[in-house]
């Protein structure tokens, strides 16, 4: 061992070496810090984007260069030398002129200085003079004189300046005149090469050159980097940062570089263009990127750019998950309450801003999901804000005893699908959590009790018609023709029923095993006789027709179901369940005493009452004694924001641990959470099984996911203006009465048209701009006094049992939808000019209008509406639009176009001027048309 110096514990040399080592280490670590800070994943992405952009520009440049006419360009360039020669011959003049220009410039500059000086004098003196005035100083006269003098000088200087400026323009023009030939040729060349030149410049910007390197060098890249975080600040959308609302910042475009630019559709992610630029993100779309951002729809942590996972990207499926794990080292993001929506669920976000509307254009899956929610009546048991106006999903049970028999009722309640495979009523019993015998016997007691209770409450009803038998073949034909299929699927017509997919009314299956024949004919004839508030309309069937249809429906039987005998009530089980109810707040003894006091019948009715409340029957069916009761299910208004930890996954390990995973699994089998869990009978999950298809569950999941607790400021949401509000109010009514089951309203629904896909003209009329087509007083009248407008149609416009308010709402809705708010003054339409009427009749004949619009003109079967009634029905402005181009309004209509491309087919009449011809024809129609409104019994053929 080396001897140490005195007073030293260590060898100084060694210490120095250690110090050197540590210093170098520390330096390296410092460099590492900067590198770690500098190297960010998004920079690599932006470099990649630059490369893609470069290729793109290069391609465009190549194309642009190809477009240039080389010969013309070289000839122009040749011309340039000639021009230069011409101009150089004027060299002397030009150089003289240039001297003059410089001279003038000098004078102008000198004058500008003088003028500025004088201006400041004037300003100073003005203040001085005003002060002198104010304080009445003795020198005010002197100051005033001085001010006057300077003002004059200033004005003179200004005038000289104007002179020099004018002179400069003059000289410049003169010089250009002398260089005219060169300048003109230059301009021509420039016009040809400007595109390539600009593209070249853009291309140069994508070069990785020293300047690029310098701008993006570590440490100095704060000055003016080209690779940088790009962001959108959304002032209309606030993030709740607890105690503070801050504008949302989306930095997604840092990596999704070309999301808003068309032309990058084929690039790999993240450089792809948004797939729906017309609707989203695009500059001219209703949701421009700068205003809507990204995360409002997609969700996720838009402000983060650390790496792929931190943003809370979420894979669509297992396959993509695997891919991402491999590619981006993806894992579930930590502590993110709402990660990005799976791509297929993005539409859920529409609901955030588009509220209070029946459907959202463009959000097809969401609309489908909401339609399914409506179909199954989820809103009955689960409150959802904005769904309060929906009608009860099931029929009223207030007079049920006269409609079906009790045995049927019990078997039906036990298992609706075993009677009708299309039943929308869900199944409560025989599920995974209540199929054990000890549960079954109690459930049977409950169903028996419910039946007794409902029958006890059921009011007497006597059908007003007797079923007299009918022709079931004709009945089937009628059922398929008159429009039943707009609301009902029908057994025996499965194919077309499936095509239409109607759900407003029940699928008519095994009806013969279900209802009383007299009840059925009475119902068909006049539905509101039995149930006042039914939406089922009258189709104005004759007694014969009603009997025929009834005969067909009665021929539909479910023999197997008829054979079912429902188990009688086990009284012991009944009493056990009742005890559980009664002892909820009382001791067993008190409850027992209470029970003992009740008679046998009372006990059954009490259990019936309790069970209707327990299973929430009253949510879908009108039952006496349950008015105003709250729904039994949890509210879904904010379900999409419910913390994941609050979803009980029970023992269902196979269910994906996400919000949508739970909701979908729940929809497909609501009772699964009870499996393997010990619960008393009364606490078993009650949500019934709807036997949804995977597609239905998926779309409903999406719709429920959209119910989030996120406050978008009013400025940010879509707010309906007063017209749109009126339209939406009407949409709710036409949705309630399922008008859209038959009529397509401006492209929306019209389910039954699927039946008429071979000839749309045989189906119910499509309503395109209906408020513009018809006069509002006619429309109002028509809704209450339906008469055939198109007698060749087999399908019938039903007579609805509308309240005054509902009728008004529908009429106003169409008016506002078409922006036609005024009544038509019919007295002013017909105002013949000389010779016009004759010309109109001539046109009428030439165009053979009466060959289709034959009613009242000849005895042919009409193929088009009776024009005698048009005076009261149609708006003249619409008639003109219609005549000019019927296909533009109703594609596929039989009405021919007589003025294709503004060319009249009758050039000799009225000078062949389409406007005048159309005007004349319109007047003619209103001229011969009748003022009297037709009624149901009016002869369609007559002239009136």
């Amino acid at each position: 061992m080396k001897k140490l110096e005195p007073g030293m514990a260590y060898d100084t040399n060694k210490l120095n070496k250690l110090f050197a080592f540590l210093s170098v280490l520390f330096l390296m670590i410092t460099v590492w810090v900067f590198l770690d800070d500098y190297i960010r994943p998004w920079k690599a992405v932006q470099l990649e984007a630059m490369k893609i952009k470069k290729e793109m520009i290069q391609k465009k440049l190549d194309e642009a260069e190809k477009e240039i006419n080389k010969d013309k360009l070289s000839s122009l360039k040749g011309g340039l030398t000639d021009a230069e020669k011409i101009v150089s011959s004027r060299k002397k003049e030009i150089s003289k002129l240039e001297v003059e220009i410089t001279q003038n410039q000098k004078l102008l500059k000198a004058e500008t200085i003088l003028n500025g000086t004088l201006n400041s004098y004037v300003g100073g003196l003005t203040f001085k003079y005003e002060q002198a005035q104010l304080k009445n100083k003795s020198n005010k006269a002197v100051v005033f004189a001085d001010l006057k003098k300077n003002k004059k000088l200033f004005a003179e200087s200004k005038d000289r300046m104007k002179g020099y400026s004018f002179r400069a323009k003059e000289l410049f023009a003169k010089k250009q005149g002398l260089q005219k030939e060169v300048l003109d040729t230059d301009k021509k060349i420039k016009a040809m090469t400007i595109k390539t030149e600009l593209l070249g410049k853009a291309l140069a910007k994508t070069n990785v050159d020293p300047i690029f390197a310098l701008r993006n060098a570590p440490m100095i890249d704060y000055l003016d980097p080209t690779l940088k975080i790009q962001q959108i600040v959304l002032n209309n959308i606030k993030d709740d940062r607890y105690f503070q609302q801050v504008p949302r910042v989306d930095r997604c475009i840092t990596c999704h570089t070309f999301i808003s630019e068309a032309g990058y559709e084929d690039q790999p992610n993240p450089h792809k263009t948004h797939p729906n630029l017309d609707l989203m993100v695009g500059k001219d779309s209703p949701h421009p990127m700068k205003e809507t951002g990204c995360t409002v729809c997609h969700g996720g942590e838009g402000h983060r750019v650390n790496d792929f996972t931190s943003v809370a990207h979420w894979p669509q499926n297992e396959e993509q998950k695997k891919e991402w794990v491999k590619k981006y080292n993806w894992h579930e993001p930590h502590r993110i309450p709402s990660p990005m929506l799976k791509l297929q669920h993005t539409e859920a976000s529409c609901v955030k801003c588009h509220q209070g509307v029946e459907f959202i254009p463009g959000a097809t899956v969401l609309n489908e999901g909401r339609q399914n929610i409506e179909k199954y009546g989820c809103y009955g048991c689960h409150k959802i804000d904005g769904w309060e106006h929906k009608r009860m999903a099931g029929p009223s049970l207030k007079k049920i005893a006269s409609k079906v028999d009790k045995e049927f009722f019990k078997n039906w309640v036990w298992d609706p699908k075993s009677f009708n495979p299309h039943a929308m009523m869900p199944r409560f019993f025989g599920q995974s959590n209540n199929s054990e015998p000890k549960h079954m016997v109690k459930n049977i007691a409950e169903v028996n009790a419910i039946a007794e209770f409902i029958w006890e409450k059921s009011k007497a009803y006597k059908p007003f018609m007797k079923y007299t038998g009918g022709d079931s073949t004709r009945g089937k034909e009628l059922t398929g023709q008159v429009g039943c299929l707009g609301c009902h699927g029908v057994q025996g017509m499965e194919e077309v029923s499936e095509k239409i997919g109607a759900y407003a009314g029940p699928y008519l299956y095994g009806t013969g095993s279900k209802v009383d024949p007299d009840w059925l004919v009475s119902w068909l004839k006049k539905p509101n006789h039995y149930q006042e508030d039914t939406i089922m309309p009258s189709l104005r069937l004759t007694d014969r027709e009603a009997n025929d249809i009834a005969s067909y429906l009665l021929s539909l039987k479910n023999k197997k179901f008829e054979g079912y005998k429902f188990e009688p009530m086990d009284e012991k089980s009944r009493d056990q369940i009742l005890m559980a109810y009664l002892s909820a707040f009382d001791t067993e003894k008190v409850a027992g005493a209470k029970l003992a006091k009740m008679s046998d019948r009372e006990r059954t009715l009490e259990l019936g009452y309790r069970s209707v409340g327990k299973y929430g029957c009253y949510s879908c069916h009108n039952i006496d004694g349950f008015e105003g009761r709250g729904p039994i299910g949890p509210e879904l208004t904010k379900e999409g924001s419910k913390p994941l930890t609050q979803f009980g996954f029970g023992l269902q390990k196979q269910v994906e641990h996400t919000r949508d995973g739970w909701i979908k699994a729940h929809l497909l089998d609501p009772r699964r959470w009870d499996i393997g869990i010990d619960k008393p009978f009364q606490d078993l999950t009650r949500m019934p099984n709807f036997y949804l298809t995977d597609r239905e569950a998926e779309t409903m999941t999406l719709a429920i996911l959209g119910q989030v607790d996120e406050k978008i400021p009013l400025k940010g949401v879509k707010r309906l203006n007063s017209s749109e509000q009126i339209v939406e109010k009407g949409m709710k009514v036409i949705n309630k009465f399922n008008c859209i089951g038959c009529h397509q309203v401006d492209g929306y629904r019209g389910d039954i048209l699927a039946q008429y896909d071979e000839d749309l003209n045989e189906g119910p009329p499509r309503l395109v701009g209906e408020g513009h087509r018809v006069q509002l007083d006619w429309f109002h009248y028509f809704l209450d006094n339906v008469y055939p407008v198109r007698p060749w149609l087999k399908i019938r416009m039903p007579s609805y049992n509308l309240t005054d308010e509902e009728r008004n709402t529908i009429v106003t809705m169409f008016q506002y939808k078409a922006d036609q708010k005024a009544l038509v003054d019919r007295s002013k339409i017909v105002d013949w000019k000389p010779g016009e009427k004759d010309a109109a009749w001539k046109l009428w004949d030439e165009m053979a209008c009466a060959s289709c619009h034959s009613a009242g003109f000849n005895n042919d079967d009409p193929q088009a509406p009776n024009l005698y009634f048009a005076r009261r029905r149609l708006r003249p402005s619409w008639v003109k639009k219609w005549l000019l181009d019927p296909q533009a309004i109703l594609p596929g209509t039989l009405m021919p176009n007589f003025w294709t491309d503004g060319e009249s087919t009758s050039p000799d009449i009225l000078g062949g001027d389409p406007d005048r011809q159309i005007d004349a024809l319109t007047k003619l129609m209103y001229d011969f048309g009748t003022e009297k409104l037709p009624t149901e019994n009016t002869k369609y053929w007559s002239k009136q």
Binding site: M8, Y10, L15, L18, L22, V33, Y242, P337
Partner: protein, 358 residues
């Protein structure tokens, strides 16, 4: 085996085990304080640690960024404790032979310049420690999380690692006691040590034989009441601050049977079979008497014992009483823990009306 370890790890069992281990360690420190023991224990501990880490549930907890300093701490604490005991064992053996501590030998008493011997090396350590922290921060991405969300607290919500022992106390004490009074006493007590401990032995060297009270008392507080509770808080407390064995999955929905009863409820309802008195002081009279007795009567009683008299003679009356009160307060934690486990005792004195629960 894993089930068994999960079962043993519950504080009800692991705390007495920790106490016994501590006792054994202090009792047989001459054996533990040998290099042979160090190597032998390494041979045992390393494979066991690897086996522990092989469990996915334990591994998940182990690699949480917040837990890494705790692992470093545990390794350091284990090693430094051994080092202390080793040095003390060597010195005590020398002292027994009358040689005096190793640090007291003439060659170890030589003086050296503080510059560069001390200051320079301190600089090295500053650089090395800074480097270490930076590398650590880069490699483990020093977590900078979302702004705090009062409506969505993390579960389990854990204190910084150095406070986990305090947080564990919350299980047994009212927040006011566990969060304010006891930590305050800890701080005051630590500050007071140099003024209480007037024993000149052990200056500059380690010894257990020459200062048994200080070593036993301090190491018990430090290892069993502080480090052990940090271990429990880190590895064995999961969502809802429920106990989870080291190999147990942190199931959010785990429910443990736990219902605690106050001493006053024991007394009036169970023993006297009467209703609780309306007056709160009457109601809590037993707890008040016990608590006052614990803190006011025990010190003079202990001072009257042979051992107490000896101590008073050595350090003086005031020092002795301060020491004994601090010791009693420290011991209140294990006492309360044991009472909780044995009798489901909630509070000895339960005066929520005065925010005073002991």
């Amino acid at each position: 085996m894993r089930e068994l370890i999960n079962w043993i790890a519950d504080p009800i069992r692991s705390f007495p085990i920790a106490c016994v281990l501590f006792f054994l360690m202090m009792k047989y420190y001459r054996i533990i304080g040998t290099k042979k023991f160090l190597y032998a224990s390494l041979v045992v501990v390393v494979p066991v640690t690897i086996w522990f880490a092989a469990d996915p549930n334990f591994f998940t907890i182990l690699i949480l960024p917040d837990n890494i300093p705790i692992i470093i701490l545990l390794v350091l604490v284990a090693f430094l404790t051994w080092l202390t005991i080793y040095k003390a064992a060597v010195n005590d053996a020398r002292i027994e032979k009358g040689l005096g501590p190793l640090e007291g030998t003439p060659e170890n008493r030589e003086k050296v310049w503080s510059w560069p011997n001390l200051v320079y090396t301190e600089l090295f350590m500053i650089i090395a420690a800074t480097s270490f922290l930076i590398v650590w921060a880069i490699l483990f991405k020093a977590p900078l999380e979302e702004p705090a969300n009062p409506t969505w607290a993390p579960n389990p919500a854990k204190a910084p690692w150095y406070f986990l022992g305090l947080q564990e106390m919350l299980v047994y004490f009212d927040p006011w006691m566990a969060g304010v009074v006891l930590p305050g006493v800890v701080v005051v007590g630590l500050i007071a040590i140099p003024y209480i401990d007037t024993n000149p032995k052990g200056n500059g060297y380690f010894t257990i034989a020459e200062r048994p009270v200080a070593m036993w008392g301090f190491l018990f507080g430090w290892l069993v009441l502080w480090i052990y509770l940090i271990i429990v808080g880190t590895f064995l407390r999961g969502p809802n601050w429920t106990f989870y064995g080291p190999f147990e999955y942190w199931d959010f929905h785990k429910v443990v049977a736990d219902y605690n009863v106050n001493l006053s409820e024991f007394m009036w309802i169970k023993w006297f079979n009467t209703a609780m008195p309306a007056n709160m002081f009457v109601r809590e009279i037993l707890g008040i008497i016990i608590s006052l007795g614990y803190i006011l009567v025990l010190p003079p009683l202990s001072g009257a014992t042979k051992y107490g008299k000896m101590m008073i003679e050595k350090v003086g009356t005031i020092r002795y009483y301060i020491f004994i009160v601090l010791l009693l307060l420290m011991m209140s934690l294990p006492i309360k823990m044991v009472l909780r486990w044995l009798f489901s005792l909630k509070y000895i004195v339960a005066l929520p009306e005065l925010e005073l629960n002991l």
